[in-house]
Symmetry: C3
Subunit: 312 residues, 3 copies
């Protein structure tokens, strides 16, 4: 699919052309397949999913996508770090080489360290789909579902004004989303975070090179009325960060009903989930909220699309 590299490790591997000519059109087809209850196009194909970090939601989305295409999850581990040879010191490379001997058709891996592309390429014949890694961390399939959510809700990605809020330093979904946004035109990003967990320099450099305008802020209230989308994220507690959403010193990072009312009528409210307290429950029923609906749906459609591209 990607010039002889069958794995999906980083959102940087995508391109505007691929998204518009291949990914988005096929995703429409996959939505129709899902709505019809599934198909059998991947019958006989084998998926292995290895999660070294907990994620019921992402694992379910991948495994559901496989099921809706008629493929089979022949092996699944929800806690590969604690409950596998990993705890005895096995390296990712050994694991990839071993799993490949079983001739799976695709591997889905969530990893608590970095999924190094050259290591993956050297150790795995089967396509590896990055279901979230760390340091710095990417989540490329999440970025795909977000791109489709924006496209379907807004009609286009070009020209988007988006506030990206939260622990921007440690968020892998933010990083992958930024890589995708850099492929479009006239994007304006407002990064809203406490100063100690703001977006990293290498992401800024990427955006700069790709002509994406961005500003940094600590007050979501001044930004919200200007944007087409608020992309809220949770505090990444496992990474040590922690946010008081309305702290006088840190800034203002809460999406509640009052903040939502300050937003444009056709703006959307996004969140990669899971949510803590950063979006209040009374915002869920707002028709502009897409985190419990469109984003989940597009997650399955996007993963079905990738599986179909890779396996059939």
């Amino acid at each position: 699919m990607f010039e002889g590299f069958p794995h999906i490790i980083s959102a940087k591997q995508f391109s505007r052309e691929w998204l518009e000519n291949k990914f988005f059109p096929l995703t429409d087809e996959m939505q129709a397949v899902f709505d019809s209850g599934g198909c059998e196009v991947l019958k006989g194909k084998r998926m292995v999913s290895l999660f070294y970090q907990p994620s019921t939601r992402t694992r379910m989305s991948f495994e559901m996508a496989m099921d809706y295409l008629g493929g089979k999850v022949v092996f699944s581990s929800e806690n590969a770090r604690e409950s596998s040879s990993a705890e005895k010191g096995e390296t990712l490379r050994d694991t990839l080489m071993v799993v490949n001997r079983y001739k799976p058709d695709v591997l889905v891996i969530r990893y608590d360290r970095s999924l190094d592309a050259s290591l993956v390429a050297s150790a795995s014949r089967a396509p590896v789909l990055n279901a979230g890694d760390r340091e710095p961390g990417e989540h490329p399939t999440q970025a795909l579902l977000e791109a489709r959510t924006i496209l379907k809700r807004r009609g286009a990605i070009d020209g988007l004004k988006i506030a990206i809020v939260g622990d921007l330093k440690n968020s892998r979904t933010v990083r992958s989303l930024c890589y995708i946004l850099g492929m479009f035109k006239n994007i304006q990003i407002y990064f809203v975070s406490p100063t100690d967990i703001k977006i990293k320099d290498d992401v800024k450099e990427y955006l700069h090179k790709n002509n994406v305008a961005f500003e940094e802020s600590t007050d979501l209230r001044t930004v919200a009325p200007k944007v087409d989308a608020v992309y809220q994220t949770r505090t990444q507690k496992e990474c040590g960060g922690s946010i008081d959403r309305k702290d006088h010193n840190l800034g203002y990072f809460l999406v509640d009903k009052e903040l939502a009312e300050s937003m444009k009528p056709d703006a959307i409210i996004m969140h990669p989930l899971p949510r803590e307290d950063e979006i209040t429950l009374d915002v869920d029923s707002d028709s502009r909220s897409v985190y419990l609906t469109d984003q989940i749906d597009n997650g399955v459609f996007a993963r079905m699309t990738l599986l179909k591209m890779i396996l059939s």
Copy 2:
């Protein structure tokens, strides 16, 4: 199935009429299906099971029931609390809403807090089957299997004299069983427990309202000769309780060969499992013991029955 509420959260939802006219007859059919090796009536149906508390036995019983009917467990988590977004703070409501987007046909959930019926109703279109919750805690499918075990072994539930023994304060299976017993006539319950973990007042009130006679005791030896069934339970160590089964101050709560010999020849010995030391191993081969046989079998049959009712 239950007046527009498709979920099974509490044993209170059942009724004598439903048990006798619908549940028990269909369970006989399901037993025949199981004995014949299974069928395909639920082919194409999708179950998701999420266990926030450990239970190999209950998860296996539900998943086996689905398999024997030809349905598919498309996703299973045995440790959703530790290995899911739950640990990052996601609420049950968010989880239910997300899972429902994948269009499962039924959800099986074991939860370490309370499965609130109105929350479930508001968040899940797919029927939710409570596989055990907490505070106060119910286990409605367990109560169904116990009702069928009593019926098949004793010929009737009406008129039953039963000793219910152990940590009655914290047992979810005892609570659900009491709710079912309250639907029958001339029931006499002997609650046998240390005084600090005796049956809670709200259960007593329910029994009183439903004309179930009950007594409380601390000595199983004086009760055992009188009853048609001894329902022994384990000490719920995770809830802080702990029982010395033959403590001079606490009372007597052990089922051993000597106690079994004092019981009627047609009485039965029940236990929801897992067992610790509260029934000695030499009682297992007693023909009146049903905890490793009839109760396990009826567990699969009862769950097959519910799945068939709900999904076909």
Copy 3:
């Protein structure tokens, strides 16, 4: 299969005659089935796998074997100790009796204590396959894959000179391998380990009775040039052992490029995995290394063979 005892608990159950007349020939067939993408011979058969100790690799090998034969893994627990009734005190016997009521066709169990053969025989009608137990610990299916690896690479097992290296006191794979080697002729074993974790006396007695010559050493460098196979093992950290591979006091236990160069051109380098640092990465590409290739392949073939023998 084994004189009315359908379970595979110990490598001692095998015999040279069974290996040569039944196991090895059928394994050749199973390799062809695997290479062709699988078959449906076990369609409708049900496997349950219960792992009380972590092992992604071994669990995957068994479940893949079942899948390649068209059978179904109807229930799988990757952490049965922490996430099952086991933590509430349920005994293995109760678990076996309960699982058997569900009528599985085969049980795969990894257990962190001893899988007692007579207990298994009394509690399980379904064949139980020992996927690794403890105290003293065996791993009989691992020994089978190793026997086939030696046979295919060397042409014969008779006459083998093999160095077995590492924490020999606690390794279950070493124990099972020794039992198999004892069935062949003119075997010479060199046990290489620190003196505090050397091979146990009962294994030595077994080898003595079966006319296997063996020596003990603390320096792999003096042994390596003489042998047809080096069987390296990891340090069993969970058992308290720990090895400095090049400690002046303990001895020399490292397989690196230099050591490999001292070995015969047709010798092989084996390891049951997972690996820590006891074989350096530059040895992986040596054509004599079989731990990431032949041994993994033969693991699936061996388990397919057993499943086919037992279930069809």
